[in-house]
Point group: C2
Chain length 258, copies 2
C-alpha cells in the first residue's frame, strides 16, 4: 500500500484517484466487440479474492464465464439483458458454503451456519464485498461494468448451467468489457437521506424523495429518455408488483435454511 | 475517471495503484488515538453513496457513529471487540426498505419486496457493495479498517441504539481510523478454489483446503500466534457450533419476511 497521504485540496495525491473513481461509478449496457485480456482478468479476480470475508471463511467463489453460448443463456435467464451476451466477460458471484463444509468435515465437525438466515446474510454481504472489489478493479483498469441481480430470477437455471454443488448459490453477476458508450452519472437521492449521524433520521426522507423524484425525471429528459419515471413510481413498480422470485425455493433445494 | 489505461508490466499507470490497494487488503484491530478529519469522512461516505444498488433502489443507508459512549456500547453488542471503542469512526451499514416504502407509498403502491427472502438478499448484497466502497475509500486515504459482522449478534440492541425505524436492519459495520500497527497480509486459499472457469470445479477443494491449513498455521506462527488453528478447525468452531444468531427474529420484528 502506498504511504499514508493527506486528503486536501492542496495535496493532489495518487490516492485521490481512488476517491474519484468511486464517486464516478456508472453502469454501462453497451460494449465494444473486444475481449478483455487475460492479464486484466487475472488482476480483477485477484482483487476480489483478496477482499475480506466474515471469520476468514472465504465463503464466496467466482465463476468466470467467457463462452459466448453460455453468456447468451445467462442473458435469457436474467430476463433478457443483451449486454450479458455482448460483454466478453461475465462473473457469477457465488455464496459458497460447499468449500467451508468440506473444511468443517475435515475437522470432524458439522456445519450449521447455512441452515440459518445468518448464513445467507453473511454470504450475501461477503458476495457484495467481492462484487464491489471486481467492479472497482475493472473500472480501475479502464473497463466498464454492469452488475446483474437478474440471475436471481431463475437461480436454479444458473445452478444447472454453472454446475454448482449443494450449499452454493449464485447470488449476483457482473458484466465486464470495453464501453461502447459513456453514460452520464445518475443522480443519487440527497446525501442526508443516506448518511445519518449517530442515529437514523426518518423525518428527512419524504422531502428527500420529493426532490429526487423531480431530479431524476429531469435527468431522464436530459439523457434522452423523456418518458422516464420518478423514482417513487419506479419503486412501486419494481418493489411492489410482479411475481415473487423463486429465491427461497432455490436456496432450500441447495441445502440452505433446512 | 482517468482515461483508459493498459495494464501491463511496462506501463506503470496511476490506475495500477487501485489494483495494488485491492490486493493489499488487511484488517487492523489497533488504532491510534487520533480522529479522522471531516473532509476524509465526507469523501468515504460519498464513495458508498455513489455505489450502485439494485433497481437504483438505494436501499442502503449508513449511520456514522463517532460518539465514544455509543461506540463503547457497540463494542459490547459485537461480543467485546475493543477496537470499535478505540477507532474514532464506526459506520453502521443498514438495509433500508423504510426509504423505499415511503417512496412506494407516495406512488400509491404497496411495497412487497421486504416480505421476501429476495429482499433480504438484495439488501445484504447492496450493503456489501457499500461496505467495500467504504473500505476502499478509507484505505485509499491511508486509513485503516476492520469490518464488523458481530453487530448481528444482537441486531435488536443496534436497532434500539441507532433508533432505526421499521423495515431497516443493521447488517454490518466498519471501524475506521489510523492504524497503530500494520499487520502482514493474511494468506488466502489457493486461487483455483475461488476462481472457476465456466463451471464450478468441486474436485479442487479438498487439496486446496489441506494446503491452506498448513499455510495458515505457518502464518500464525510467523505473526506470533503459535497456537493459531488450521482454517478447517476454525471453520468447524465458527460455522458449526455456538448459539444461532437472533437474526431472523430481529428481521421479523422490523417487518421483514412477514
Amino acid at each position: 500500500m502506498p504511504a499514508k497521504v493527506a486528503y486536501s485540496g492542496r495535496e493532489v495525491t495518487v490516492m485521490n484517484d481512488i476517491i474519484e473513481l468511486l464517486e464516478e461509478h456508472r453502469s454501462v449496457r453497451a460494449y465494444e466487440d473486444r475481449d478483455v485480456s487475460d492479464e486484466m482478468l487475472d488482476a480483477i479476480v485477484r482483487a476480489a479474492w483478496r477482499a475480506p470475508s466474515s471469520y476468514n471463511a472465504q465463503e464466496v467463489s467466482v465463476v468466470v464465464v467467457r463462452d459466448p453460448e453460455r453468456r447468451r443463456r445467462i442473458a435469457e435467464i436474467a430476463g433478457g439483458q443483451p449486454w450479458i451476451a455482448q460483454a466478453p466477460v461475465f462473473f457469477a458471484v457465488v455464496i459458497d458454503y460447499h468449500k467451508t463444509a468440506v473444511g468443517v468435515g475435515m475437522a470432524e465437525g458439522e456445519q450449521r451456519i447455512h441452515r440459518e438466515l445468518e448464513g445467507v446474510i453473511m454470504g450475501a454481504v461477503d458476495a457484495g464485498i467481492a462484487l464491489e472489489a471486481l467492479m472497482v478493479a475493472a473500472r480501475g483498469l479502464g473497463l466498464a461494468i454492469v452488475p446483474i441481480g437478474g440471475i436471481r430470477r431463475d437461480p436454479q437455471a444458473m445452478i444447472d448451467l454453472l454446475e454448482l454443488p449443494p450449499l452454493t448459490f449464485p447470488v449476483v453477476g457482473l458484466c465486464v468489457g470495453h464501453a461502447a458508450v459513456v453514460n452520464p452519472l445518475k443522480p443519487r437521492m440527497a446525501l442526508p437521506s443516506f448518511r445519518h449521524e449517530e442515529v437514523y433520521r426518518a423525518e428527512r426522507i419524504p422531502a428527500a424523495i420529493e426532490a429526487y423524484d423531480r431530479e431524476i425525471v429531469a435527468h431522464w429528459r436530459r439523457v434522452g429518455r423523456p418518458g422516464g419515471e420518478a423514482w417513487s413510481r419506479n419503486m412501486a413498480a419494481y418493489l411492489g408488483a410482479g411475481e415473487p422470485r423463486p429465491v427461497g425455493e432455490a436456496l432450500r433445494r441447495q441445502g440452505f435454511l433446512a
